[in-house]
Amino acid sequence: MNAPPNAEQIDPVMVAVTEMQGLADLFSRMQNVCWSKCIPNVREGILAMGEMSCVDRCVSKYFDVHKMVGEKLQEQMQKAQMQQPGATPS
């Protein structure tokens, strides 16, 4: 307890690994979401034109939402740190 335990525990390998896992998780969720949004059925074994452009836009929007959520989250967290939580349950 004499030395701050957290300081030593920031392991750069762990950070890189977590980052990779974050990317992999992001990709796998995006894949699921865009499949359900853009591929209504498998009556054909190929991607239709409309499905292709849907996928492209889906990826683009997914990244934008990802970025936006990140910014919003940080903003909110800063706000939350500034003011003590006020409202309490009914």
Partner: protein, 93 residues
């Protein structure tokens, strides 16, 4: 989550191991929460793919979605801890 755990019966070395692992888990947890929130708000707010850029209505929806989730998350976290404390009250060891 640290205070929800009974680590009293572990020795110093073991405690450090558990806390180290807890650290890793928290990093991953934050990532999961983040990615889960993105998925949730995307599903909630993005309904068409006529264009590649986000529209005004969509960005507004995303903002409300994040704010609302934060409020939700804080409330449910507090309730969860209360309940968990309550259940864990009968002292172990």
């Amino acid at each position: 989550m640290q205070n929800m755990l009974d680590v009293e019966h572990l020795n110093e070395g073991q405690k450090q191991q558990v806390l180290g692992k807890l650290n890793d888990m928290q990093m991953q947890d934050s990532l999961n929460t983040y990615n889960g929130l993105v998925e949730r708000c995307f599903n909630e707010c993005i309904t068409h793919f006529r264009a590649k850029d986000l529209e005004k209505a969509e960005t507004g929806c995303i903002e409300r979605c994040v704010t609302k989730f934060m409020a939700f998350s804080q409330r449910i976290g507090t309730r969860f801890q209360e309940k968990n404390m309550q259940q864990a009250t009968p002292p172990s060891q």
